[in-house]
Amino acid sequence: MNAARFKEKFVQRAFLFNGILVIMILAGIFLLLVINALPTFKDVSLKEFLTGTNWNPSSDYNPAYGIVSMVVSTFMVTIGSLVIAVPIGIGTAAYLSDVAHPKVREIAKPVVEILAGIPSVVIGFLGIVMVGPFIAKLTGTYSGLNALNGSILLAVMALPTIVSLSEDALANVPKSFQEASLALGASHWQTLVRVKLAAASSGIIAACMLGMGRAIGETMTVLMATGNAPAFPSGFLNSVRPMTSTIAIELGEVPYYTTHYHALFAIGLVLFLITFVINMIADIVLHRYERNFR
């Protein structure tokens, strides 16, 4: 065997090894979650865990392990952030790709992308000292640390991803589609909405899904800005405590190998499954779209 062939084989093996390693680490994490989560259900029924609205694991005489409140909180904050971030993000992307002067785009796009690198604790900080008081003043509520605040902050965090990837998707729409549309007497606006956004929709959906992925798993920001009230939320002006916050707050103090400890892993497992399902749905949507229109 000559040196070149040996090198080729070696590189191949190295990549294979890397691939296997990554898969094993991921599988290991999942296994760890499952193994640590399962003992929860010796004391708590799966039904109570998944349908109970009361989370009070540290009570001595009547501990409760229902996660519905925090699941609802997580979804409220996430969906709220998407409601804010998706229209703004797509609008900004459309502006950058179609309206802005090329020089503006050249400067604005990297700036937007840098925003993605702001540490979440800084965003949370802004939530406490700026967004919170502002919401409090606007709505006359006491603290302004609530689901709305979390939604706004997560929207800010998801925006760079959504803007940047959507802009890429729009820029990748072949110019010939645009020309065809304009030559048929469509205005720039009609061309943008009916042709460019439509043709870029798979990329835009993917961008929003990635933004959502970031929002749903985000911990520090929501921990700081949503007020930490583990009760069932009745509106966006309620303080809430999403799943991530609960784990972050309680795992540091819980005695090891108690039901409470295992229940926190079970929450992690549920969160993992939710993200997994969302990603799967996104994938199926994208594939269906591509089958029809590529």
């Binding site: 589609f177 048929l184 007497g185 469509a186 229109f293």
Partner: protein, 252 residues
């Protein structure tokens, strides 16, 4: 000769400093096929794209002179380009159907004009596809993605799409260059058929094609209009030597 629909007077076009159409004057008659021929880079596409002001999309361009369509100067300040482009349709060199269904492709021009009536749209689409000679091939799969059609079918779909809004003038820039001989023959038949209702201006590199389908031939070279005349005359006894040399393939 029929009444003229397009009238170009002393028209020049600049890409930046580069004057690439030089003082062109040309009349185009209604319901005839006019072909523009000339060596690569002589400005055929540029000229064609001035008829519906598609060149407006290219930054740093400038025009001098006038182009009148239906007696109106299309480069006048008060002209609505959107209206102009509805009146002057275009078929591009490469088929460029939208990534939508066959139906939606033809419906596009109607929808952007605010047509909502479903029966009206369906009727127009059927007529458009029949006109473009595509109806029999696609009538059972109107909801399929247009990108799954063959290249020739896509190009005829683009013709149907352009015709659906009933333009007066149809511009075609080497519409057959991406097609095989059979698809080309079908497209040529179609063009000859279309001239009963439309005024057609076509750019082509194919001399036989120009000879077969056009009534008038215009020869451009280096941005200048060298000769315009009846196709039969241009191809048998051109008045300029250089035209003859180009047509007989001695250069270009």
């Amino acid at each position: 000769m029929n009444s003229k629909i397009v009238s170009i007077k002393d028209f020049s076009f600049y890409y930046g400093q580069n004057k690439c159409l030089k003082n062109i004057s040309l009349d185009i008659a209604a319901r005839e096929v006019t072909s523009i021929i000339g060596p690569s880079g002589c400005g055929k596409s540029t000229l064609l794209r001035c008829f519906n002001r598609m060149n407006d999309l290219i930054p740093n361009t400038r025009v001098e002179g006038t182009i009148h369509i239906d007696e109106k100067n299309i480069y006048a300040a008060d002209v609505d380009v959107v209206d102009l482009r509805r009146k002057v349709g275009m078929v591009f060199q490469r088929p460029n159907p939208f990534p939508k269904s066959i139906f939606e492709n033809v419906a596009y021009g109607l929808r952007i004009n605010g047509v909502k009536n479903k029966e009206f749209i369906a009727d127009k689409i059927e007529k458009g596809l029949i006109n473009a000679g595509l109806w029999n091939e696609v009538k059972d799969r109107l909801r399929d993605n247009a990108l799954r059609l063959s290249g020739g079918q896509q190009q005829r779909l683009c013709v149907a799409r352009a015709l659906a809004i009933e333009p007066e003038v149809v511009l075609m820039d080497e519409p057959a260059s991406a097609l095989d001989p059979i698809a080309t023959a079908k497209l040529e038949e179609l063009i000859v058929e279309l001239k009963k209702k439309y005024t057609i201006v076509i750019v082509t590199h194919n001399m036989q094609q120009a000879a077969r389908i056009s009534d008038i031939t215009v020869f451009l070279m280096q941005g200048e209009l060298i000769e315009r005349g009846k196709t039969s005359e241009i191809f048998t006894r051109p008045s300029k030597k250089i035209t003859e040399e180009y047509i007989t393939g001695r250069f270009g």
